[in-house]
């Protein structure tokens, strides 16, 4: 049980309105950590801090440290960090280009591949790992904007896999999807944890119970409780956690 990510005393504010209050949490290698909590609990802010997407926002202020394999991520080069920690957004965001180009876009820019034969191999592998290969192998050159929502979200997963990250962050990845597409994304998530460490933020308590190895409950910028998923769902220690997972608020 090795800690992949260690968070120490992390506080985050936007325009002096604080959404996270001295958070301490760890993420174990090759686990799926689900984070649940009502709106404004700070869970998305937490996720976006892990690959420093929040740094784009000038009103964002942060205190505390985050370590990835003992390297402080705030001392790391931003691009290197994001290469190691990929992120999947709530809404699928395919780039306006073909399926094939979507996959090789980042590896090309990062200088990971040079030869055409390598490209083909990477595209196929990434699409297979995201269980999309069979659906799109005959139309790799068609526009990614024309795929269905579920396919687009899995394409976005494939795009992350192509740069071979260590951690993947999922930000409510199924909020816009139908139940069948959701099931497919969840399936690939469970397969992916063999190779990657996964942090999943979700509004869907059931989803957390289905895929999470451990689950953390956030409320108003505080970590209320974190435990093995079955333990947290069957016998939560805190009253607030119980209220939330049984649907009494949120």
């Amino acid at each position: 049980m090795v800690d992949k990510i260690k968070v120490e005393n992390l506080s985050c504010c936007y325009n002096k309105k604080c959404v996270l209050d001295s958070l301490n949490i760890n993420v174990i290698q090759n686990e799926i950590l689900s984070i649940i909590g009502p709106a404004n609990s700070g869970k998305t802010t937490f996720l976006r801090t892990l690959n420093r997407m929040n740094d784009l926002d000038v009103t964002y202020l942060r205190k505390g440290e985050v370590y990835l394999d003992n390297d402080n991520i705030f001392n790391m080069n931003m691009e290197n960090l994001r290469k190691r920690v990929g992120m999947l957004f709530a809404m699928p965001i395919p780039l306006p280009m073909s399926i094939y180009e979507n996959i090789i876009y980042a590896p090309k820019r990062l200088g990971l591949i040079l030869k055409k034969s390598e490209q083909d191999a990477i595209v196929e592998q990434a699409l297979r790992d995201a269980s999309l290969w069979n659906e799109v192998k005959d139309r790799l050159d068609s526009s990614a904007m024309k795929m269905s929502g579920g396919q687009q979200q899995r394409l976005c997963i494939a795009r992350i896999l192509a740069i071979n990250p260590e951690v993947i962050l999922f930000d409510e990845p199924c909020s816009g999807l139908d139940p069948i597409s959701t099931a497919k994304v969840e399936e690939s998530m469970i397969e992916l944890k063999q190779k990657y460490t996964i942090v999943l933020v979700t509004n869907n308590v059931k989803q957390a119970s289905r895929v999470g190895d451990r689950t953390a409950f956030f409320l108003m910028g505080n970590l209320i409780e974190i435990d093995k998923t079955d333990k947290l769902f069957i016998s939560p220690k805190e009253r607030q956690t119980e209220d939330y997972i049984t649907g009494r608020f949120g």
Partner: protein, 284 residues
């Protein structure tokens, strides 16, 4: 005063507004119609491709056409990259801070400077101070500064139209900021930038005051062959033949005006076509 019923007063007001609209449009139609009607017969192949003769009173306008073409080409190739880069800085690299506010104020100010003042400035800095002389390049530099605020404003609009999520997606993959701009933002903003650029080309083709003392001269007996040449230009030529030469045949004046008008309107029309085309083939 008679009190009108609301219904009647509405009818009356609408008619007045309609008349005002007609009044606003009539001059455009009159101008275009007058020029076409009187100038069409002057346009011959010979008129477009020969030198002016007999103190401009016969012959063609070739050197003026080529002069305008060379100045506009130079000006746009200078102003386009600068304008697009400046727009990228304002849109992609910073949010509101003191520096960007000063830059924006400078842009607003540049946009309002009268064209003849640009002419003065061009004369002072390019012709005299940098010793470029009255030349294509001095005129082009002057025009390029004049057009800079327009290019920056349209380029910013085009950059803004690219969804923010594309940038986020690209950055989240570890792609650097500039690479994101270069490979995602710019290609998708290109249609808007292109349309704006074509409109700018149309606008500066017809400008006279900025090149009055920086590039244009009354008459040059040969075609332009270097950017350090002084040249004849179409708008200045029209000014000359319509005001400075006594007993000028009307046909030549109208012909010159028509060529200038067709040139400017055709380019503007191309921009409109381009805009419609790009809107239809939008990728997102």
């Amino acid at each position: 005063m008679i009190k009108l019923s609301p219904k009647l007063s509405q009818k009356l007001s609408y008619s007045i507004l309609f008349l005002a609209t007609i009044l606003a449009i009539v001059p455009v139609v009159v101008i275009i119609f007058t020029i076409i009607k009187n100038g069409a017969s002057a346009i011959t192949w010979d008129f477009l491709t020969s030198m002016p003769k007999d103190g401009m009173r016969t012959g063609g306008i070739l050197p003026a056409v080529l002069g305008t073409f060379s100045i506009v080409t130079c000006a746009i190739s200078i102003t386009l990259p600068i304008g697009v880069f400046a727009a990228i800085y304002l849109n992609e690299y910073t949010r509101n801070n003191l520096l960007t506010r000063i830059i924006k104020l400078a842009i607003v100010n540049l946009a309002g400077v009268p064209s003849v003042v640009y002419g003065l400035f061009g004369l002072g800095i390019f012709v005299m101070f940098l010793k470029l002389g009255v030349s294509v390049i001095a005129g082009a530099l002057t025009l390029s500064i004049m057009e800079l605020p327009v290019i920056i404003t349209t380029a910013r609009g085009a950059l803004n139209s690219v969804p923010y999520s594309f940038r986020e997606a690209s950055l989240s993959l570890g792609v650097s900021r500039w690479q994101t701009i270069r490979h995602i933002v710019l290609p998708n903003a290109l249609p808007g930038i292109l349309t704006g650029t074509i409109l700018s080309i149309a606008r500066i083709s017809g400008e006279t005051a900025p090149i009055l003392f920086t590039a244009s001269v009354f008459y040059v007996p040969h075609l332009p062959h270097s950017i350090f040449d002084q040249v004849m230009t179409l708008p200045y030529h029209l000014y000359i033949v319509s005001t400075q030469i006594p007993n000028m045949p009307k046909k030549i004046i109208f012909g010159t005006a028509l060529v200038l008008l067709i040139m400017v309107l055709t380019i503007s029309f191309m921009a409109i076509i381009a805009r419609i085309y790009f809107r239809k083939h939008r990728k997102w």
